[in-house]
Symmetry: C2
Subunit: 257 residues, 2 copies
């Protein structure tokens, strides 16, 4: 882990990864401290536990400190995974403006989350328009990722879709300072991967075999091995610009006021 990441995490153990690799640099130390202090409690959760429930009125939001989470929409008896969150993500900040969520959120494997009450958040934001705008920004990131998923579902084959999922998670982990370039642990079943890719578990098994043969990427027992990340990216024509990382689409300058 780079020392700059280590430094950030030791100073802000709960929120050090928030917006890391995105616009964290636009936050002042004071603002970072405010975000850190707004977290009221820390929860250690097991795998498959419910973090937020569709329809329930939510008075607080959670930030994912460690582990993964998924958003799930139940439709016609079946559960559909519509997105995945990585550490540093403010999982259900939506709830702050939406009041009720249109989906459920579950942990994926053991996870640590921090809690923020909306009352407290409201208070802080009222005096901090710059911070408010960055929180807003962070919720729009999810929208950008959703759009890419729509695109992916509209265009790619099943094998390319999983490849895309793997590329995205890899990139997002690296953005928040987690080494993932040549593989990482990902506590998902093939059935869940299938759900994310709009296909069946049986077909997912075949898609993964194809991926192993053609790109050497192998997903086994909740772990992805990625000896040739570039091959995987080429396989699904992955372009990460929608993640608003450093480069093309990001305009940090405008937030530095």
């Amino acid at each position: 882990m780079p020392s700059s990441v280590q430094h950030e995490l030791s100073r802000y153990p709960r929120t050090g990864r928030f917006l890391m690799g995105r616009l964290r640099s636009a936050l002042t130390e004071g603002e970072k401290q405010l975000v850190e202090d707004v977290i009221e409690g820390e929860h250690h959760l097991g795998g498959g536990e419910l973090i937020a429930h569709r329809g329930a009125e939510c008075g607080s939001s959670s930030i994912l400190i460690d582990g993964f989470a998924i958003r799930v929409i139940a439709r016609g008896g079946q559960d559909h995974i519509v997105s995945l969150q990585v550490p540093g993500d403010f999982i259900d900040l939506h709830g702050f403006a939406l009041k009720r969520l249109d989906h459920d959120i579950y942990t994926l494997g053991p996870a640590k989350v921090g809690l923020v009450s909306h009352a407290r958040l409201s208070e802080v934001i009222g005096h901090q328009p710059h911070l408010a705008r960055l929180l807003w920004f962070s919720t729009l990131l999810d929208g950008a990722i959703h759009r890419e998923w729509i695109c992916k579902l509209e265009e790619l084959s099943a094998a390319q879709r999983v490849a895309h999922v793997f590329c995205e998670i890899c990139r997002r982990l690296e953005m928040v300072g987690i080494e993932a370039h040549h593989g990482f642990s990902l506590p998902l079943t093939q059935a869940q991967l299938a759900s994310m890719c709009g296909t069946t578990a049986v077909h997912m098994s075949r898609a993964l075999r194809r991926l192993r043969n053609e790109t050497r990427a192998s997903f086994r027992h909740g772990r992805l091995d990625l000896p040739y990340p570039a091959a995987l990216a080429a396989f699904c024509e992955y372009d990460a610009s929608y993640l608003y990382g450093p480069g093309e689409l990001q305009v940090a300058g405008d937030y530095d006021d």
Copy 2:
């Protein structure tokens, strides 16, 4: 058109439909006036004109006053439609927090848009936390719609997907006070519908035929006729709660402070 809608539009000709059917009731008359006044100019556009361009630094956003718009992501030579906007939508308010867009936005048929500079918006929002939160809310609505589209692409057949698109547009039009219950004009080609549904133009033609046979919904020459809206909704098991209209998920009370 109900007289309440007429009244709102005569008072706020450019922004009268903003959040209508959603949380417009949570806006005070003063806030509505602020929103109306923040619009600096009005543009009349033809069909297929570019409203906002991917990657360009945007200093202003647009609200759709009349007509339709689509969000398009170019990927691998092909254009993919990832969402559709109806009157009253603040089309690219995203740009305010994101600074650059990850997609292009085009008009669909003739449209009227209002322009807001970000500098002006920033100024107003700084003093209006309640209004800021409702603007934030309006951008999260797009996210909720994106999630439903992901779900739709993951689960439904081609015919059900178009049905879903039709149901959604119908519902959204009615929410903002446009009569659409038994049909409406929708200047789309079958190829564009196919792009929204992740299928081909040829297959879309067959899907539409099936829809005509099974639900009496007929889409011809840019117009949808809907003698039995309930049949269409049943066909794709449509549940509009993700639109955060009055009911289940909406909590207006919390914004009435």
